[in-house]
């Protein structure tokens, strides 16, 4: 029963958070900049245009009523129409979201593989120079943000030693027609490995830039948990049974040490998704974040609004998912 109540409370706070986020977006965009209609129309719009749009958005009503109308539309998936492209914001956002999701998940995988193996290596060679080196690298990785890593990667692996693409999502010269927006998954499913390779070549540097700080966080936390585990009795027992140090760390210590890291990875994953905004810009990767910056530069307010809301939804859902996984995995919470 306890777990149901915990989950319901968690769900309620998620809804409150989302409502709060919606209010903030509404306030920032509708109330602060004066007349939103004037900003929504191209220069040279007539008085009649303004009046028509004002009625359309219900701007002749009170702020509270306006909010209700707006949130009602949003709940039905009506995010308005983009000013620059004249297309429904919902369609634009849905069209770009897969690119951002693929990039974020790829970055997450890289972070887990790099951070995890660094932590295991450091634990295996604890107390030696290897551990010291990994610690220093982790410290540097952690103290610089993804933006700077992205620029450094462009210089080193894009220009100085041009192994990877530094802009775009796919080479147009391939002439491959995608039917969905999940390019990587689609290319995999259709067994077009040349396209997969091209996509990965474009995705690798931005994903690595996003992954480096998270890999460092995983390294530090997992290493600490592993080290604490290494003093436990079952490790001593495994040692007396004659298992190798490598197998003890991988088979006995890791499953016991991994829970705190998993929780942290979940929380940090939202930060990683947030980082895609500038990283996509840096690598001219056609995702949601790159579109958001264009929208801000073009003052396309309905589009900005839609993108910010989708990010907020994504963040809160990831957080909710992490909490639920944690509750499901942690026996102490399950039986409390």
């Amino acid at each position: 029963m306890q777990i149901v109540r915990t989950l319901l409370t968690r769900l309620a706070t998620t809804i409150i958070t989302l409502l709060g986020a919606a209010i903030i977006v509404f306030v920032v965009i509708r109330v602060v900049p004066g007349n939103p209609i004037a900003m929504m129309l191209p220069p040279g719009a007539t008085e009649a245009d303004i009046a028509r749009l004002e009625a359309l958005y219900g701007l002749d009503k009170s702020i509270f009523e306006q909010f209700l109308i707006w949130i009602g539309n949003v709940l039905q998936g009506d995010f308005g129409t983009s000013i620059t492209t004249r297309q429904p914001v919902f369609d634009l956002v849905i069209g770009r979201l897969p690119a951002t999701l693929e990039l974020s998940v790829m970055a997450l995988l890289i972070a887990i593989v790099v951070g995890g193996s660094a932590a295991l290596t450091a634990t295996l060679y604890r107390g030696t120079k290897v551990e010291g080196g990994i610690d220093v690298a982790g410290g540097v990785a952690l103290s610089l943000p993804d933006f700077l890593w992205g620029l450094a990667l462009i210089l080193v692996l894009g220009v100085l030693w041009p192994l990877f693409h530094i802009s775009g999502r796919v080479s147009p010269s391939l002439g491959f027609e995608f039917n969905t927006d999940f390019y990587l998954i689609e290319a995999l499913v259709r067994f077009r490995f040349d396209v997969v390779l091209d996509l990965l070549g474009h995705m690798f540097l931005p994903a690595l830039a996003l992954a480096i700080p998270l890999a460092a966080i995983i390294l530090q936390l997992l290493k600490q948990s592993l080290k604490e585990c290494m003093h436990d009795d079952y490790i001593t027992l495994a040692r007396t049974k004659g298992y190798s140090e490598t197998s003890i760390i991988a088979r006995d210590a890791l499953p016991n040490a991994i829970l705190p890291t998993l929780t942290l990875v979940g929380v940090q994953f939202t930060f990683l998704i947030g980082g895609t905004v500038i990283i996509e810009r840096l690598f001219s990767y056609e995702g949601l974040g790159n579109m958001a910056i264009d929208a801000v530069i073009n003052r396309d307010l309905p589009l900005i609004q839609g993108i910010v809301l989708v990010f907020a939804l994504l963040f809160t859902l990831v957080n909710l998912l992490v909490d639920m996984t944690y509750a499901a995995l942690n026996p102490r919470l399950r039986h409390a």
Binding site: G20, V140, S143, L144, L148, L151, V308, A312
Partner: protein, 283 residues
């Protein structure tokens, strides 16, 4: 174990000196930029466009670090760019710290409905990607130094309030606070005279970190051309320009990037060093 302690003990000294040294250099560069800049940072000379730095072939010794695609002197632009970077670091960092730490102290020590409201606000704030939030705020507020500072404070106060709240809560449960209460001290008095001094080391370490973050946020905003007026030299603006001409003139990107690297690294190492310095266990 003893060795590790010793190393940690020795390292902060070196770290503090190196990072402090670079930051001091930067302050001097920013303050004396008009005097030491070899050129006007805005002066264009298309005949001297994309000159490489001094050790490369075809360099002009008058332009030590070379020029960008409009023939503007990179060294002078870097020196002037340091002014904006440091102003934002100091002002935005300090203001963010004041707002965030105050709210965190209130939430963590006074608890009750204030804690409820502040914690809920932090949750809502966590639902926004910071860079997107910053760009959105600049779009609404308009560009300019004040907007950048306001945007950084609005986005990042949660970083302080979360940590300070947790610290204030654990300090509030300690015996010395209880005895101060028994001694009849007022709640506000205890918060300021007992809790605050004990949370201060954490705040100081966070503050230097925040200054590095502010430098990055400003660079990102300049990079997407949403910082201050476009004709003012900024590191982020130089990086954006370098990104577009990366195959023709790598140095336009490299120098501001190195400056940004060192500055952010210095601020964070200074924070780490100060944290160790203040940590009673390590001291």
């Amino acid at each position: 174990m003893h060795d590790a302690r010793g190393q940690i003990r020795r390292l902060p000294g070196l770290r503090l000196w190196l990072s402090g040294g670079w930051l001091l250099l930067l302050v001097l560069a920013a303050v004396f930029a008009p005097m030491i800049s070899p050129h006007d940072p805005l002066e264009q000379d298309l005949f001297a466009a994309r000159l490489p730095p001094f050790w490369q072939q075809g360099a002009d010794p008058a332009y030590l670090l070379g020029t960008d695609s409009l023939g503007r002197d990179l060294l002078s632009r870097m020196l002037y760019g340091a002014r904006l970077a440091l102003t934002v670091a100091l002002v935005a960092g300090t203001l963010t710290c004041l707002v965030g730490a105050t709210l965190g102290l209130i939430a963590g020590y006074f608890r009750g409905w204030a804690d409820l409201v502040i914690s809920r606000l932090v949750d809502i704030w966590m639902a926004f990607p910071p860079v997107l939030f910053a760009i959105l705020l600049i779009a609404v507020l308009g560009t300019g130094l004040t907007s950048i500072i306001v945007a950084i404070v609005v986005i990042d106060w949660t970083r302080f309030s979360r940590v300070v709240r947790a610290e204030a809560m654990s300090q509030g449960a300690m015996d010395y606070v209880a005895s101060a209460q028994v001694a009849g001290r007022s709640r506000l008095g205890i918060a300021l005279a007992e809790i605050l001094p004990n949370v201060l080391p954490t705040i100081v370490a966070l503050l230097t970190l925040e200054m590095g973050i502010a430098v990055i946020v400003e660079a990102i905003l300049s990079f997407v051309n949403l910082s201050i007026s476009t004709d003012q030299p900024t590191w982020g603006g130089m990086i954006a320009e370098g990104r577009t001409s990366i195959y023709q003139a790598w140095w336009v990107l490299v120098f501001p990037l190195v400056a940004l690297f060192l500055t952010v690294l210095s601020f964070s190492q200074l924070g780490e060093g100060l944290k160790d310095y203040f940590d009673p266990v390590l001291r």
